[in-house]
Symmetry: C2
Subunit: 143 residues, 2 copies
DNA sequence: GGCCCAATTGAAACTTAATCTCAATTTCAG
DNA sequence: CTGAAATTGAGATTAAGTTTCAATTGGGCC
């Protein structure tokens, strides 16, 4: 599982397996859904383990490079991440009124992107699609 | 054109038409393609007009709200914008090796997004799709 | 034109996510 | 075990973007 994958990733890069890195990994995979670095850091602290903010950020970057975690949005208020292992790729709709996040996946959408990449001789490795607008509830409320 | 649209937008919100705002607007629409706030600020300065960084940022936000300008990406190193008036909506492919940006548009892709929004009772107003990977040149070079 | 007041401006302070520094500590291959 | 190389944490640093606030300006009104 993710533990093994991360260990392989570290080994392949000549990086070391430390308790701090493992703590970050464990915490991330215990969270269901999206998370922010600061919350991750606080969760780790409150679970008794000690790992500095610096280590949390450093590990987060490694996890993104390894492909186990994805950075799904960047905003003034910081980045949002989610773990992708055991979690099929998907995109997001974000309600600009209430902040609700709807996850969706469309094979169709993925396929068309492949076709477009081919047309431009581009080797796509990842993508982020964010649709902004209003969710059902907020739309109704406005009326 | 964009000047009139912006003036209407300002009027509708009881905002004033100032030389600083006009300078920012003019500069943005004289740039072909993507730009960063800092470069925008420097361009304005070097064109002899004086407008503070604060005003540039403030105006940029107004322009995004008005729909004349879009924020197309956010990164550690700041945001990237482009003007959208007289410039059909499109999405981007970004080469993670050399930074090249390819613009593309697919009616098909847009349509599927509409269908998906409907399925989720979501009223989409805008979206950002960024495909990351390697451009043709960088792919060849790696071989 | 001139009046008046809300809107705007700029300089500098501030905010804050994220990165960097570097001495002390830890990992792990041999 | 040992030693070299990697890692850590506390605090300093960075830099994009926002806020503050006194001085200035735009524009509706007469
Ligand atoms: Mn998600
Ligand atoms: Mn573009
Ligand atoms: Zn909502
Ligand atoms: Zn390239």
């Amino acid at each position: 599982m993710e533990r093994t994958l991360f260990m392989n990733f570290l080994a392949a890069r000549g990086l070391k397996l430390t308790k701090e890195r493992m703590a970050v990994l464990r915490q991330i995979f215990s969270i269901h859904g999206h998370f922010e670095p600061e919350r991750l850091y606080l969760n780790i602290r409150s679970s008794g383990i000690k790992a500095s903010r610096a280590s949390v950020y450093r590990t987060l970057n490694l996890l993104v490079e390894s492909g186990l975690v994805e950075r799904i949005s960047r905003s003034e208020k910081g980045n949002v991440y989610e773990h992708t292992y055991g979690h099929r790729h998907h995109d997001h709709m974000i309600c600009t009124t209430c902040g609700e996040v709807i996850e969706f996946f469309s094979e169709n959408l993925e396929e068309i992107q492949n076709v477009i990449c081919t047309r431009y001789h581009f080797t796509g490795t990842s993508h982020t699609l964010e649709i902004r607008g209003q969710c059902r509830t907020c739309k109704k409320r406005k009326k």
